[in-house]
């Protein structure tokens, strides 16, 4: 009985990993995400999210001391870099401070239902973590979004969330949960995932001193961090 359970557990783990790999490979290789699905003659990519999509903290360099960031400045961040990397227009639809389950969901739907967006790059949830939004609610909203996007013939790329560190490290409990939900729903829905969280964790064994963030603020990436996000997203888009 025990060996059966162990085998079943091992099988489940293996299957999940295999499925994740196959899903990623199929999309990265085929590069299907950058197509004119609306048929309007151009490819429109929408980078949707909060301040980390908007680009707050961009311009800071590793080693700078940044306790808080008050000024959002002009939109920049990974969408600007991505546009150059994939040679296509990327609209920065980052809204600093926005929560996915509060006002983000409705705003995102306004882009997905109808409209000329071909591909949505989604990265939102860090502000939900401030309000300890439960994983179940985040999961339902994300699945609803994926269902409507598919029904509307829109491509979606899910970006996992950079884990908050240093002064904001306590939020990582929730953002890590949201990121795992993105991976899970990515597999179930055959939607590709750009694993930003994994990239940050790989680059920074000691997250609290990670050179990809403005520190000790620990919430917003610095220029190096936005470079890293752009690279992961670009690869996932097949650019």
């Amino acid at each position: 009985m025990r060996s059966s359970l162990i085998s079943l557990l091992a099988a489940s783990t293996f299957i999940f990993a295999l499925s994740l790999t196959l899903a990623r490979l199929s999309f990265a290789q085929e590069g299907k995400l950058l197509g004119d699905v609306t048929g309007d003659g151009s490819v429109t990519v929408l980078a949707f999210g909060d301040s980390i999509t908007y680009g707050v903290g961009d311009g800071g360099n590793p080693g700078d001391y940044v306790e808080t960031i008050e000024d959002s400045g002009e939109p920049r961040g990974y969408p600007k870099r991505l546009s150059a990397a994939i040679s296509a227009g990327v609209n920065n639809a980052g809204s600093p401070g926005e929560r996915f389950l509060y006002d983000g969901f409705a705003r995102l739907m306004s882009f997905i239902i109808g409209g000329d967006v071909d591909t949505v790059v989604f990265m939102e949830g860090t502000n939900d973590a401030f309000h300890r939004i439960e994983g179940r609610d985040y999961r339902i909203a994300l699945q609803r979004m994926l269902n409507v996007a598919r029904a509307e013939n829109k491509n979606v790329l899910l970006n996992t969330l950079p884990p908050p560190v240093a002064s904001n490290a306590s939020l990582a409990l929730f953002t890590t949960l949201y990121s795992s939900i993105m991976r899970d729903l990515g597999v179930l829905n055959s939607v590709p995932v750009a694993d930003v969280e994994q990239k940050f964790r790989q680059n920074c064994p000691d997250l609290d001193s990670c050179q990809l963030y403005n520190l000790p603020e620990g919430l917003h990436p610095n220029s190096a961090g936005y470079d890293a996000i752009s690279k992961v997203v670009s690869e996932a888009l097949g650019g």
Binding site: S19, A151, N189
Partner: protein, 237 residues
């Protein structure tokens, strides 16, 4: 004394192999990120068999497994997806609607005695917030004689207790939530089908069917009133 090699697999290894085969089939069948349903896993396209009418905008994709086989008959049916019938083994069996990639997570089971010309639709509807997810097996017994075309409607719109449906100039039909109308005769050619919530007249979707003589169609109205609805066309025969 000699011993024969034991070729029998232990139950745990069998479980592993079956799960692996099932997952590989499902994973390989994925489609594009968004867009129309393109997954090709599961059984082959057929004029008979089983299909899923996925109407719940809250729910992840689903599979259908038969007790007579090990692999999924229907694989990764998405919300508002339009996959047609997948062939079904003949005989008595249990059809299980499961979450995609989770064959052990059974949402509903139905006992059927399938013949060579049996057709079944599993309606998957409801929501996760108020109504709960629901299922219903529909035995697709089409109209006996079709002079032109025949069209029926399924109400899978959460929040629409009754849909008022018009098919061209025919009298409007009232279809309860989770229910289907009878087949209605329609002329060959372009036929417009539109639905609205009976309670307040809010639109619940519409589409134009290029109806062909001798064909029967099902139009599924899927989604959630006030949020997102979509009409999906299935060819029954």
């Amino acid at each position: 004394m000699t011993t024969q090699p034991n070729h029998r697999l232990s139950p745990s290894i069998k479980t592993f192999c079956l799960s692996l085969a099932c997952a590989a089939l499902t994973a390989c069948g994925g489609g594009g990120g968004g867009g129309s349903s393109t997954g090709s896993g599961g059984g082959s396209d057929s004029s008979y068999g089983v299909r899923v009418l996925h109407a719940s905008v809250d729910a992840a994709p689903v599979d259908v497994i038969s007790s007579s086989g090990s692999s999924a008959l229907v694989s990764q049916q998405f919300f508002a997806g339009d996959k047609g019938y997948r062939s079904l083994p003949e005989g008595s069996q249990v059809l299980s609607l499961t979450r995609t990639l989770n064959p052990a997570d059974v949402l509903a089971s139905f006992s059927v005695d399938a013949g060579s010309a049996s057709r079944y639709s599993i309606l998957f509807y409801g929501d996760l917030q108020n109504l709960g997810l629901r299922t219903r097996l529909i035995e697709d017994e089409g109209p006996e004689d079709i002079s032109g075309a025949a069209i029926r409607v399924v109400n899978g719109v959460a929040g629409a207790a009754t849909l008022q449906v018009s098919i061209t100039s025919a009298d409007s039909q009232l279809v309860g939530f989770g229910q289907n109308s009878e087949y209605i005769a329609a002329p060959a050619g372009e036929v417009r089908i539109a639905a609205q919530r009976a309670a307040d007249g809010s639109p619940a979707g519409s589409l134009v069917v290029n109806a062909q003589t001798g064909r029967a169609y099902t139009v599924l109205f899927a989604g959630e009133a006030g949020f997102y609805t979509k009409a999906v066309l299935f060819t029954d025969r």
